[in-house]
Amino acid sequence: MASVAQNISALTESAPAKAPLPRRQYPGALIVVEGTDGSGKSTQLYLLKRWLEINGYRIHFTEWNSSPLVKSATRRGKQRRLLTPTTFSLLHAADFADRCERQIVPLLHGGYLVLADRYIYTAFARDAARGCSPHWLRNLYSFAPIPDITFYFRAPLEVAVNRIVAGRPKLKYYEAGMDMGISLDRAESFRIFQERILDNYDHMVETDRFVLMDGTIQVNKLQKLMRQMLRERVDLAQFAPKKK
């Protein structure tokens, strides 16, 4: 058991965040895609998923912000604009924890290849851009399993922003970062917010060992590269359909 003195220091001094639960080994593998909106990550993960599905691999696909558990609260908070950087972050963390505890972790223990469209790095990049302390965020998500591969799709800011702005009639309030009061113009606010997020992602390439993917490369060529990297780093045979 930790000594009392150690515990006392933890609340005020920036001790490294420890895992809230003991880490366990598991036979599954976790593949994550990260990147700003419009970087092409979802398209690429979809194609990877289709390839694995068609070939009969044991996979599970999970998305950021999809749990029905906290949906009503998120909707209420967003509609009425009640969310602060802290409650925005905590609510998404609660949502992620639900998915993590009820899907991701059990599936990893059950030997699945888990594909995640966005993961904890989304919170690190986005919530820090909103003003949450990076140290606080790292601790908040320290219960999450570390991915086997994190593909980071990077597109230049203008390319990514144009893809989103062109495809949507209106940017949503929180999506555009309007809660931070950077600019009254939604498109302008969105651009500045995305720039901060991009910057935060770039800093994690080294610290979190991201695999950098050039989001401007042709879709099919990039997909070929992604499949190749997956085969190199993960033993796909263990997820293959069992032969009778």
Partner: protein, 271 residues
């Protein structure tokens, strides 16, 4: 010269390190445990935060009703807070608890959301306006409940490091057996969560309640040392406990007289 909240925190932290001083045992150097919440200036908070902790059946709510009346009669405006009272997620937590499908980290983080929604949107504005905030439970109950379910204490303290440090924290300590009697008398039943039935401690409801509350009590003994609680005997009479509470609060707020008799509306509580 005005220092930013962050630099003053860092200075305070290095002070603490050099003197090897426990937090909370001398006048608090900062109103936050760690980094202040984004956008909050400490010097603006002219009100006072008084926390009452204790298990169900410890008399918290009774004492808060009486203290509110006393403070109002002394001319202080009072704001209260408590668990699951946030507009943002209060009802969602009720629904989660009713379903029993929720897992422990998710529940801990939903409670965290509930806490910070109240803190940021109700409590900080109240403290800026100079109100007295009476908290019916605070981060300590949340930490204790999650810790007995196996979530790391450092992790939990990390979540609440941006919370506001109370001016006074009272712990109404009662033995689990007494809490059981009082709760049973009040509602003729014992709640699922207050008896820790999610933890499979015992099939016997009484045993489960006692074991769970004993675990919580041990966490509180540890938290009490760490955070400098004022421990009161929650098994004393309502009037006695109230007298002790008034004495400490009066000293904190500079109220001279601690004389108080409940009004007719609250006289039924004064047993």
């Amino acid at each position: 010269m005005k220092r930013s909240a962050k630099t003053s925190h860092m200075a305070a932290a290095s002070n603490r390190r050099s003197r090897k001083r426990k937090i909370n045992d001398v006048g608090p150097p900062s109103r936050f445990y760690g980094t202040a919440l984004p956008g909050v200036k400490e010097e603006e908070l002219s009100g006072h935060l008084v926390v009452i902790e204790g298990s169900d059946g410890s008399g918290r709510s009774t004492q808060i009703s009486l203290l509110t009346e006393w403070l109002e009669s002394e001319g202080f405006a009072v704001q209260t807070m408590g668990l699951r009272r946030s507009f943002l997620v209060g009802e969602d937590i009720d629904a989660l608890l009713a379903e029993n499908a929720v897992t422990r980290i998710t529940l801990a983080l939903m409670y965290g959301t509930d806490f910070f929604d109240q803190l940021e949107r109700r409590i900080l504005p109240a403290l800026r306006s100079g109100l007295i905030v009476l908290a019916d439970r605070y981060i300590f109950t949340l930490i204790a409940r999650a810790a007995v379910r196996g979530i790391g204490r450092d992790y939990l303290h990390g979540i609440y490091e941006t919370a506001l440090r109370p001016d006074l924290t009272f712990w109404l300590n009662v033995r689990p057996e007494i809490a059981f009697d009082r709760e049973f008398k009040k509602s003729q039943t014992i709640s699922y969560w207050e008896s820790g039935r999610d933890m499979s401690l015992s099939n016997d409801l009484f045993q489960s309640f006692i074991r769970y509350q004993s675990m919580i009590k041990r966490e509180f003994e540890y938290l009490s040392k760490r955070h400098g609680f004022i421990e009161l005997d929650g098994e004393g009479s309502v009037a006695d406990v109230n007298g002790l509470l008034r004495k400490r609060i009066a000293a904190q707020l500079g109220i001279r007289s601690t004389q108080y008799r409940p009004s007719h509306a609250l006289s039924h509580l004064w047993r």
